[in-house]
């Protein structure tokens, strides 16, 4: 009896201690477990959403690349399956009209549209990336950009002067001696499909000759087309925005130069951009320190192909062979001799109009110039015709 009573008393006290302790410990552990489970559940979701977002962006960029490829093929190889021709057809073929979802992988795909841009060499591309698909997407990203290719000037003349002459200043082309300017196919000129030049020489002001220059006119055209309005030149002139882009491209390829230059041997093929010493656009009010002359002369054993773009004047003499485009924002003087010459076109816009454009004015050479539209477009095969994202236009936008 004694033992039983004592045991009953002790057991009653122990029961009261164990239960609260167990409950407290269990509560604490349960709280921690629940918090940990919440973390463990939300973290993978956040990480998964982040990954889906990155994948959707990659899908949208895939759509952009696909559109750029189609546009490039349309320019360089129009018969390629899937190419989008240049100019843009109407209606735009699928999937580039946004009507089809293009599956890239099990992870997702894109919808892409191509539309005409503000200029003939611009297209607006909108690509939307979906993950894992466009029916029940968990992530959507949209990219917009303007695609462009190198501007086709397609000048209507082998030698063109003017278009940017300051008000009150005259533009003049002086042709003399035995200068040769060929704009007929019979004399070696070549035209692009659908593009017919109108003259061998074209000026915003006068065209004067001395001696006996040999000028051949294109079919239905003339040898000299003088006193043309500035607007007649606007389609084959580089704007300041064009010049800025060409400058950046030349910088990227290491062919950007500043200040007056002399080339006694062929420079690297491709785009050569020669800028003012300050790097500012060349204008009629540019300081004298920004007025430059690029001197090309010598007796070259090899030819040069590309675009020579100068924010100033160009002087070409000697026996040099150049294929492509000679573009000067001021004047061009040519006194070439020998078997060399320019095949493509020569354009001077006369922004300052110091001398206008002279072609063998001093009768010291034949300065042959032969119109070739394709070489103007692609710099004799050295200027890429592929479409690319126009700098400053690539952006991510909201929406689907």
């Amino acid at each position: 009896m004694t033992i039983h009573s004592r045991s009953s008393g002790c057991l009653g006290g122990e029961r009261g201690m164990a239960l609260p302790m167990t409950m407290i410990v269990l509560t604490l552990i349960s709280t921690l477990t629940l918090a940990f489970m919440a973390l463990a559940a939300s973290e993978p979701i956040i990480a998964s959403n982040h990954m889906a977002s990155a994948q959707a962006r990659a899908m949208a960029e895939s759509g952009v690349e696909r559109a750029l490829w189609a546009l490039s093929m349309g320019t360089t190889s129009p018969s390629t399956t899937g190419a989008v021709s240049d100019p843009l057809p109407s209606p735009v073929p699928a999937p580039y009209n946004g009507s089809q979802y293009v599956s890239v992988s099990a992870n997702g795909g894109f919808v892409v549209t191509i539309a005409n841009g503000a200029a003939a060499n611009e297209r607006l591309i909108t690509a939307v990336g979906y993950v894992p698909n466009n029916v029940n997407p968990v992530a959507i990203k949209k990219i917009q950009l303007t695609a462009t290719r190198m501007k086709w000037l397609d000048p209507p003349c082998a030698i063109c002067a003017g278009g940017e002459a300051p008000t009150g200043m005259s533009t003049e082309i002086q042709i003399g001696g035995a200068a040769t300017v060929r704009a007929s196919t019979a004399s070696g000129a070549q035209y692009c499909a659908g593009v017919m030049p109108t003259a061998a020489t074209m000026s915003q002001g006068s065209i004067n000759t001395n001696g006996s220059p040999n000028l051949t006119a294109p079919p239905g055209g003339v040898t000299q087309l003088a006193n043309q309005p500035a607007s007649a030149f606007s389609s084959f002139i580089f704007s300041d925005a064009d010049m800025a882009m060409l400058k950046e491209m030349a910088k990227a390829t290491g062919t950007y130069l500043q200040g007056s230059q002399t080339f006694t041997s062929p420079p690297p093929n491709g785009l050569i951009f020669i800028d003012t010493p300050s790097g500012n656009p060349f204008t009629a009010s540019s300081p004298s320190s920004d007025i430059i002359m690029v001197d090309v002369h010598g007796n070259w054993s090899q030819s040069w192909s590309g675009w020579l773009v100068v924010a100033g004047s160009v002087y070409i003499s000697g026996n040099v062979t150049m294929n492509g485009l000679i573009y000067a924002q001021n004047d061009v003087t040519m006194d070439g001799t020998g078997t060399g010459g320019v095949t493509g076109a020569v354009i001077s816009t006369n922004r300052l109009d110091t001398n206008s454009t002279n072609v063998d004015a001093q009768s010291i050479g034949n300065a042959p110039t032969t119109y070739n539209c394709q070489k103007v477009r692609d710099g004799g095969g050295t200027i890429s015709q592929r479409w690319f994202s126009k700098p400053g236009t690539f952006r991510e936008v909201a929406g689907t």
Binding site: R6, V25, A35, F36, H50, R395, E396, A398
Partner: protein, 177 residues
């Protein structure tokens, strides 16, 4: 009766020992649970802040048009926002805060703003068009970012919450030739 009201020394010692063992077990269990929680929470915090910050910088750098100034821990660049406007912004490390300072257009909010705190390191390297490292801003075409984060609140170095996360990303500026 008197014997029934008290406990012997031996009984008390046994009870105390058993209680101690139980308490120690419970403490260990609780501490392990708490450590696991602190570890997970710390890890989640540093990963989330690093991921969020790097995502924001890389999104803006991706639409960048030019880098105007740079160092190994700060970069100033212009980018095109979703409206097509050009924005000038600088990301830099100030103490343990990663700062964003937008200068053009001037935003309504005070600048610079703190993107995240608890940054242990923010290391930037730059590459040109040939993927060669460069320190000339005009030549930068690609930016490599390496961000190391730690908990924003001070924690003991041996605490399970004292985590580090290192995230790295390399972005090509899309609005450059």
């Amino acid at each position: 009766m008197m014997g029934q009201k008290g406990f012997s020394i031996a009984e008390l010692l046994v009870a105390a020992a058993m209680t101690s063992v139980l308490m120690a077990g419970a403490f260990v269990l609780l501490q392990q649970g708490q450590n696991a929680y602190l570890f997970g929470a710390g890890r989640a915090e540093v990963q989330q802040t690093a991921r969020g910050a790097l995502d924001r910088i890389s999104r803006e750098l991706r639409t960048g048009s030019v880098v105007t100034a740079l160092s190994s821990s700060s970069v100033t660049f212009r980018f095109v926002d979703e409206t097509g406007a050009t924005v000038t912004v600088q990301y830099s490390l100030n103490g343990t805060n990663l700062q964003r300072n937008q200068t053009v257009p001037v935003p309504a909010a005070a600048q610079p703003e703190i993107v995240i705190g608890g940054v242990n390191a923010f290391v930037l390297t730059y590459f040109d068009t040939n993927n060669v490292a460069t320190t000339t801003p005009a030549n930068v075409r690609t930016v490599n970012m390496r961000l190391t984060t730690q908990p924003q609140d001070a924690t003991a170095s041996l605490s399970p919450a004292n985590q580090r996360a290192i995230v790295e990303d390399r972005v090509r500026l899309r609005n450059l030739i």
